[in-house]
Symmetry: C2
Subunit: 425 residues, 2 copies
């Protein structure tokens, strides 16, 4: 029996093979830690919803066509349900039901696993994890700037620099104006946005043909992108980011438009500068979505972005920014005499109660084999009991100390703290 | 539109209402943090699999009856699939496919969300999160003891004591022997185990009738439980736990048997001592399951347990062990003059880059309102710029300091470190 196609297993490092759908749990946690840490540093609070929702939550916003791309089914209670393909509808549902209990602006993040029944192709998965950050209840462009800054700092926290990526900032409003000045058929607006969204990936002849059908010219659209005159709102966002020292990470680029129908203001996507990957993340304003999902009960402006783990992990690998994992073990306790096992178990218990990561051989094993195992596990220390004392060995410096067993935990923790202080100064 | 019945939403504290399916994301993270921290302190490494698996992965082990309780469906590629109802089959699949790359014993943990299509009743959910810890490749009872110790320490890390809970340790082997000495119909063994498993919850007359059908007497079964003579293997486990100082947390109790077919040796469940809740967790040895799931390709002994978040959270609430949440904000930056906004944004950026959690008002707001907001958010400090200097205020002590803006982060971090050292000594 194997896993389903398009899904991933996550194993501890070192992951034994490099099959496409066998991923590193340590790398996943590394990315999640950065997501959570930076989102919290921006004052965002975490939420989550169920991975299974009523199908209607998705069709109300995106129309019935989206059903093709969903893992949807009829449950045993005869409900039409779907595995969540994106988080924004869940967020809108949560906001509509609970916003009265929270001061505005609401700044929330989540790290859901999302599902799409995509046709299988290399690198295209049927699930991924996605950092979702949203600000609800604030129309000021300061919120849009805060959002773009957060994207930049998440990517920087993972080691990426302004050499590696850029956030392309655009305006759905500007595109809407462009469309409305040239077409009176507002129902075609979303079709138009989707063609523009695909321009960089699509054969120009195909785009040209599709645009002509809507009454537009490819060359004129390309000119509009090239001119790229920033709107006042985009200038405000750029100035705000410049005040933070983040000006180098962002540029105005009308080539970005976002395909989804619901965007209403500034939109943005982050890309690797070499252009080898799909967008690292994307988002923008969706000031009417909460109203739509709540059936008109709650009307709050909102904006947000989603950043998936798959493209991000590929980019980190390509830029050699995946750290070495597997050094989480603080202590390996050597039990060289079986008569020492009960006392050693007591020591192991003491150390673990102080939150130290401790391992040992469950069964009798030769001393040199135990030591080898300690090294394989990347232990920072070994400890062994010897005539009532504990011999603590720091493996990289080879320093050895003899202490009372109950002093071992204190010694290790104090050393770690002074090291943190030394690094701080 | 509402969430599906039996599913939960998780919101940041303070959660505005106490609806049954509206849970605290902070409490969930509090539980997850304890799970992960203690599992790692025991040298366990994290893994995960997909929430959707081939249906066959569950029917091969549990028979077709389990399908009734699953969220299962036919996907668009005509595959029979199911949302995972438990993690052990996924683990067995992962082990069968990848075990050669890992030294034995393999000590792994995971914190999956699991799904069952249960009939709706109070407190019964259709999903929960579950800590799963497993040791694979070790027959020695030292592994069983390590597993029970881990359960005890997870519960202790959440504040529970030997007043609150006990791990009831039993032996499937002893029950198997009991069965085989009295019945030659080995196909009925699992039925027998399931009746014994339900004894404490079931009407005695019903149990008696069911046991009689298999040729057993309720009174005799109850006697066997009462005697509870520990087998040698259980004595070894108890001695091992006593050496760790954990003897008070465990007792031999043959009333525990575990309902599932696949257990083969020691089994255990943790219960609150007042008996007000369902089992907090349960597990045991399943030495043949990897062999079964791998179709005979890989044969490794294994043992493990699962601990769900729902019963655990209810128990923590009942014992008043849920900490106060919402104090994660380190600094609220006050912007009293709009002319200071660009420089304040620069300061905010500096602080966040040092991993401090920082918030501020996105839009102009009166100074006293900003200060109130800082207090509501539980900020530890406020900072405001004043004529080129930064005024840092520690809210609980009301201490105020004037520093150069670039000294603020250092000051806060050093203070936190020396506080950690002071607590350590």
């Amino acid at each position: 029996m194997d896993r389903l196609p398009g899904f991933r297993d996550f194993l501890p490092e070192p992951v034994p093979t490099s099959k496409e759908d066998l991923w590193s749990m340590d790398l996943r946690n590394h990315i999640f830690d950065a997501w959570r840490q930076v989102a919290e540093s921006y004052g965002f609070r975490e939420y989550d919803g169920p991975p299974l929702e009523a199908l209607e939550l998705y069709t109300v916003k995106s129309g019935d066509e989206i059903v093709e791309q969903l893992f949807n089914f009829t449950d045993k209670g005869n409900r039409e349900v779907a595995l969540r393909p994106e988080m924004t509808p869940t967020l809108a549902r949560l906001i509509a039901a609970n916003e009265r209990g929270y001061k505005k602006p609401i700044k929330w993040f989540s790290m859901p696993q999302l599902f799409r029944y995509e046709r299988q192709s290399k690198g295209r998965k049927r699930e991924h994890f996605q950092l979702n950050c949203d600000i609800v209840g604030e129309t000021d462009r300061a919120a849009d700037a805060e959002m773009v800054a957060l994207i930049i700092d998440v990517l920087r926290a993972l080691g990426l620099t302004s050499e590696d990526f850029v956030v392309r900032l655009s305006s759905r409003d500007a595109w809407q104006k462009y469309f409305e000045e040239r077409s009176s058929d507002s129902e075609k607006a979303t079709d138009f946005y989707q063609i523009v969204d695909k321009l960089e990936r699509e054969d120009p002849e195909v785009s040209d043909k599709k645009l002509k059908e809507l009454g537009f010219e490819l060359a004129a659209v390309q000119d509009f992108i090239k001119q790229g005159n920033p709107t006042d709102e985009l200038k405000i966002i750029i100035d705000n980011l410049t005040a933070r020292g983040l000006g180098d990470f962002v540029k105005i680029d009308y080539g970005v438009i976002r395909g989804l129908a619901y965007y209403t203001g500034p939109v943005f996507e982050a890309f690797d500068k070499k252009g080898a990957f799909r967008a690292i993340c994307g988002g923008g304003r969706y000031d009417h979505l909460v109203n739509l999902v709540s059936g008109g009960k709650v009307d709050l402006p909102a904006l947000g972005f989603g950043m998936g783990d798959v493209v991000l992990a590929e980019l980190l690998k390509a830029r050699d920014l995946v750290p070495e994992f597997g050094d989480d073990l603080d202590v390996f306790v050597l039990i060289e005499e079986e008569s020492e096992r009960p006392a050693s178990l007591g020591l192991i218990q003491q150390l673990r109660e102080r939150s130290l990561n401790v391992d040992y051989s469950l069964t009798p094993m030769k001393g040199n084999k135990q030591f080898k195992r300690a090294q394989e596990l990347g232990a920072e220390y070994t400890v062994r009991l010897d005539r009532g004392l504990a011999v603590l060995k720091h493996l990289s410096s080879r320093e050895e100390l003899r202490l009372a067993p109950e002093e071992i935990a204190d010694h290790i923790i104090e050393r770690a703290l002074s090291q943190a202080e030394a690094e701080q100064n």
